[in-house]
Symmetry: C2
Subunit: 260 residues, 2 copies
């Protein structure tokens, strides 16, 4: 089964053009990451943006200019080992491709940022419902009215994911995700969506809506999509990111990212 | 009493040249920070060094080039508000001064990094002995045989502080300091000093030796001095740091830095 591949095997399949699908649920237990590549000139300020906004942009690995093999994935190549990439010029989406060897160059810096896939498995293991997994949907994501701390030319509103659950389950979810400080950590908000500028939970800005049952409250976590909005907020000649859901699968285990 | 000053009052005293002493024990409960200032050209790699080595170099604040007022201290000026600075040229110590307005320039970036003063108060509150406080000495610091992850031109051995305690107290100390992940967090080692390249606990590389009683084990935490060794490992035209013990006192409370 494809889902039983090791991260190294999956990356090899992707590189060979045999795997083009989203990475949700594959290589379970291994850390998946958001990818942002941008020119060295802007790398200090983008790193500063991530440092200033650690909940949406938790840094897993930053590579030196021109390097493509991250420390967290042996023999990997970030130019070929994700199933789908997005290419932005001057902040505008120009293309979706399966390989970026022809655009990546020696003065590009790659950032790998944590993703909430890591803590969803821990929530399930703790008996907390994860509705998007139950309903086999992409998690609901919303652009909030809260601004991140800017850095140089980079700014973005905070983007959040939402998972509905009962209050007692939310208490447990807070405990569980607090351990995962490198994959968004504890929630940033719960309850009233209006308070963070979300008008309609049934109409997420990204991903799919999920069922919210009677007696459940929405619980909101900072989301890695924030980093993509930030990276494309500056007018840079070239930014490369993963395509939504098509993440980089590392050799790190989810448990390696826990604080406790 | 001088020790009862608020952080803002203390910074004003320092700026006026009325306070020239170390900051140990002043403005208790407020976060004190290590300072590193270096040229913008090298700022990406130094920030990357800190990100890759979060235990010795936990980032509290990084200022944009030329800026001197950190977010964590209202109306402060990093050029004047520390009691003593060290000036390095090409990695060599050139001077100790009380004000760096004449050397700081618009292309310098300032980094404020966490300091173990924050967790020492929490250890005392938890009933864990802090021998250097009991004996009114500077904490014992040692250069270990462990290398930090390098970044660009920056490299350094890991420097640690040591506090002796009974094994059951060490368990409690691990729990308490785990919460303080922005001020060095949990210990990096305990027990055998030889294992991390320390030959003689009675001869620290920095600070003072402290009494180790029968039945106590040495417990080692990553130390902010690591950041100074890293900053001066590259041949930069100018690096400014605080002088040992003469820290920057921020408006943040120690509890703001805890994870849990």
């Amino acid at each position: 089964m494809a889902k039983d591949l090791t991260p190294a095997q999956l990356r090899e399949e992707i590189r060979a053009g045999k795997w083009k699908a989203p990475t949700t649920g594959v290589a379970p237990g291994y850390v998946q990451a958001n990818l942002v590549m941008l020119p060295q000139d802007a790398a200090f300020y983008f790193l500063l943006f991530c440092v200033r906004n650690p909940k949406p942009c938790p840094i897993l690995d930053v590579l030196e200019p021109g390097q493509v093999e991250p420390k967290i994935a042996k023999d990997a190549d970030l130019r070929t080992d994700l199933p789908k990439y997005r290419i932005f010029e001057q902040g505008k989406l120009k293309d979706e491709v399966e390989d970026v060897r022809n655009v990546f160059h020696d003065e590009m810096v790659s950032f790998l940022l944590g993703c909430s896939f890591s803590f969803e498995a821990a929530l399930v293991a703790a008996g907390v419902p994860v509705r998007n997994l139950e309903e086999d949907k992409n998690v609901s994501m919303y652009i909030t009215s809260r601004d991140c701390q800017p850095a140089g030319p980079f700014s973005a509103p905070l983007v959040v994911t939402m998972r509905p659950m009962k209050p007692a389950e939310a208490v447990r979810a807070i405990q569980v995700t607090t351990r995962f400080h490198l994959t968004h950590g504890a929630p940033v908000h719960m309850g009233s969506p209006e308070e963070i500028g979300i008008k309609d939970l049934d109409r997420p800005d990204f991903g799919d809506p999920v069922t919210i049952r009677s007696g459940e409250i929405p619980v909101f976590w900072a989301c890695g999509v924030t980093s993509q909005l930030a990276a494309t907020s500056a007018s840079l000649p070239l930014v490369v990111t993963h395509a939504p859901g098509h993440m980089f699968v590392s050799d790190l285990r989810d448990e390696h990212l826990t604080l406790l």
